[in-house]
Amino acid sequence: MVTDSSSTQPIRETARPVHQERTKISTHEVDVFYGAAQAIRKVSIDLYEKAVTAFIGPSGCGKSTFLRCLNRMNDTIDVARVEGTILLDGQDIYDPKVDPVQLRARVGMVFQKPNPFPKSIYDNIAYGPRIHGLATRKSDFDDIVEWSLRKAAIWDEVKDRLDQPGTGLSGGQQQRLCIARALAVQPEVLLMDEPCSALDPIATAKVEELIAEMKMEYTIVIVTHNMQQAGRVADRTAFFYLGDLIEYETTAKLFMNPREEQTEAYISGRFG
């Protein structure tokens, strides 16, 4: 509920014990370069299945860049170069045999600014299933659309106007539409790049609530500027600073009892 995730809530202690979890994505010494400039330095991190991991850090610290490596979105930028290994279920996603197109179907992404296509709500959701051939009959598509919109907790708001343009929704609805759109291709991992930074507090609360529900089934990685948000939604939190991964811990530990001085300085608001 909305009240659960309001900012007055203390940092949640619900991170599940590590021993029950399986590693979904594992990176080893990942470097990212934009031309000559290095954006990420030797980042090694294990991201766990069916859990929420938050990346925090000041602007320009490389957290979004690193996130975009996980589904090879950096491939679309000419000058970006990625080195090191990133394993998804034990397979190197930068292996030449891996098709980035299929990878992105497994590792979905939600962006900072809601970006619905200028199509109807229905077609926005059906877009992914269509290009991946997940259904052929109209009734199957109808089912996928309803299922996805329900998952993203927006079905009741839009069920009567599925033929209206997705761009006509409010910002928060657009973002949940984009989440539904990503879920429609049945990804295993969902990358969220500051999904609430363009939303008002109420819409933010709805998205956070949604994240908490979705982690039952999906591995979620969220980049956020907002430390309270990381505290509210994430099981584990990674702190990035100037391209380095400084500290990676369960959220409770990172916020209550940080190991590194820089982390302490950042979360207590001394910079950032």
Partner: protein, 458 residues
Amino acid sequence: MALTAFTVLFAVSIAGYLWNRRAASVLREGGARLHSLSGFHGLYSFLTAAIPAVVVVLFWLILQGPIIDWLVMSGLPAGTLDGLSKGARQLTLAEIKSIAGGRIFGTPEPWKLEAAERLNSLRQVGSVLMVIVAAALSGLLVLLARQKVSDIFRARHKVERTLSGLMIFCATVAIFVTFGIVASLLFETVRFFERVPVGEFLFGLNWEPQIPLREDQVAAEGAFGWIPVILGTIVITILALLLSIPVGLMSAIYLNEFAPKRVRAVAKPILEILAGVPTVVYGFFAILVVAPALRSFGASLGIPVSPNTAMAAGGVMGIMLIPFISSFAEDALSAVPQSLREGSLGLGSTRAEMVTKVLFPAAIPGIVGGILLAVSRAIGETMIVVMAAGLIAKLTVNPLESVTTVTVQIVTLLIGDTSFDNPKTLAAFALGMMLFLVTLVINIFAIRIVRKYREIYD
């Protein structure tokens, strides 16, 4: 003398600029806080002096001729012009003028020589007077402007208001010229329709405008039905679009979405060079390369191909339109936000799916607007079709036959013998009017579509 007048008045105005600027600077150096910078005081003087003086000199130049003519004619000895018609009076005046210019034929009557002398002296006096008036007026205005220099005088406001007035004037000039063009077109068109019924023009299937201008000429009876002419225009336009739309769109999509930076850096300027080729050069290309090639290709297949095919003209026009459509499509594609590209790729679409399913639908209004503008360019294009299309209006849609276009007909009707009380010549204006109306409607549509699409992302 006009040159002298302008030189004098500009010299005076510039002197006024320097004088006022100096005066303002002196005030400033004296410790006063001036409202406006010295330069604005200078400009104020310049504009105050130059604008009215220029206007006066221009009016003087326009009015001097007729006034002097009137003075000369009314100064003739009483009775000389009695009983002469208007034409004869003008003839007399023209004779006096040529005598004044030194071209004397035979032995003119003494009163004509006298009048010519008067004309020359009046002209001289008028010109000198004009220079004096220009100098005096601008000098006086400079003096008045000098009086205004003070710390509280708002020279900047005055200058800005004057300049914005000048800008409004320039903008209205363009608008009035447009109205003037349309009005002259309309006037002649109405005269054409007084001679040829509107129905015959709009629905007639024959176009044979080469009717006799004078009694002694031998020519056909004439027919003014524009259908075959507009049909030729439509055929050539469609052929041009069939070539330019796919090629232009594909190249835009490639350059914008697929091409590596280096390819783009080379290919785009080359495409822009294509846009800069003069249409007369495209015309050469059409008659010297494309038409013979088509003809010999047709001959090798056993198909008769006319020397001036619609295909050659339309094809080359299509090449001309490629950069036009391509640059419009590129603008439309790059206006689609990057976030939509990422959204699509992030869902696991290929680049091709992204282009066809997301970018293209989002960009289609802009692309359609560009295509419509290309259509109106194709309809109005003249040089290529004058060189490569035919002259005879034939009612056919076969691209391998010779057709003519509206623009070609306008050109052929207005060169050579013309007479503005004859339907042959006036027909050109009627065609021009129709062309204007058609392209106007298409442009309005295009602009509306382009504007509507702009609202989507703003």
